[in-house]
């Protein structure tokens, strides 16, 4: 097996550089975008809130796919990537919640309401906190990987429920700005551009983080093998 040396590899460096460049462009467009008729400049929170939410979902779905691959093929690398993706997804979800709360306080008058979208997001976060508790609790690497994979796959079931919650149980949280179900966009171009650029930036940064975390976990596993 090829032994990679620790340190930043060209692909990770490129992804990181591109991600931060896109983030900078996204920030420029977000600050240039006009205020919303109802929300004023508060609408700027949405550009990072939606980006964090989407990449959070993506990270959990990828964690589920790697979990499934682990169960089928049994290679520890899939387990490491699944855990890496779940961790990044959890961080992104927390960022999404912070953004949402900071938007909700001046808009709804409260930081948090137990309405369907927020509740299903709370369930989603609880599932992935549970995922890491399972990983902590089991010492045997193979048992740990199998149990974690089961949680990661179960967690994916909740993602479409969370996404659809704003349609199924109409409440206070607005429906999707970029409606992928009905293929409609409820935004003028000068607001859509910062949203899309930020979305792209977050996705590229997620890919960079996943690659870096996957490599770190691989080095860690190798180190433990040698030093026990």
């Amino acid at each position: 097996m090829r032994r990679e040396r620790p340190g930043l590899d060209p692909l990770s460096a490129t992804l990181l550089g591109a991600g931060y460049l896109l983030l900078l462009i996204g920030f420029y467009y977000a600050m240039k975008a006009p205020p919303d008729v109802d929300q004023g400049y508060l609408v700027r929170i949405l550009y990072v809130h939606v980006a964090a939410a989407w990449t959070g979902y993506l990270a959990f779905i990828v964690a589920g796919i790697y979990a499934l691959l682990y169960l089928i093929k049994g290679h520890p690398a899939y387990d490491r990537l699944s855990a890496a993706s779940a961790e990044i997804g959890l961080w992104l979800s927390l960022l999404m919640v912070i953004g949402g709360m900071m938007w909700a306080r001046p808009t709804w008058g409260v930081y948090w309401v137990w309405e369907p979208r927020l509740t299903s997001v709370a369930v989603m976060i609880a599932i992935y906190v549970g995922y890491f508790l399972v990983r902590q609790a089991i010492e045997d690497p193979e048992m740990r990987a199998k149990a974690a994979a089961a949680v990661a796959i179960l967690g994916v079931i909740n993602i479409p429920i969370t996404y659809m919650s704003v349609y199924w149980w109409r409440s206070i949280h607005q429906t999707a700005t970029i409606d992928v179900i009905n293929r409609k966009t409820h935004m003028p171009p000068e607001m859509l551009i910062p949203l899309l650029v930020n979305l792209f930036a977050f996705t590229v940064l997620y890919a960079a983080f996943l690659r870096l975390k996957g490599r770190i976990a691989a080095f860690e596993a190798r180190w433990e093998e040698h030093h026990g």
């Binding site: 620790p6 340190g7 930043l8 990181l16 983030l23 920030f27 004023g40 400049y41 508060l42 700027r44 929170i45 990072v48 809130h49 964090a52 961080w91 960022l95 912070i98 953004g99 900071m102 938007w103 306080r105 001046p106 940064l205 960079a208 983080f209 870096l212 975390k213 490599r215 770190i216 080095f219 860690e220 180190w223």
Partner: protein, 33 residues
């Protein structure tokens, strides 16, 4: 425009986290585990 405070809290938290997490990952990668 008291609402601007909320916007800046979100942007500073987000960028702060992304930069901090990147630094942490690069540190771990440089150490090799």
């Amino acid at each position: 425009m008291g609402n601007q405070v909320f916007v800046w809290v979100v942007y500073l938290t987000t960028y702060g986290f992304l930069l901090g997490y990147t630094a942490y990952l690069l540190y771990r990668l440089g150490r090799g585990r």
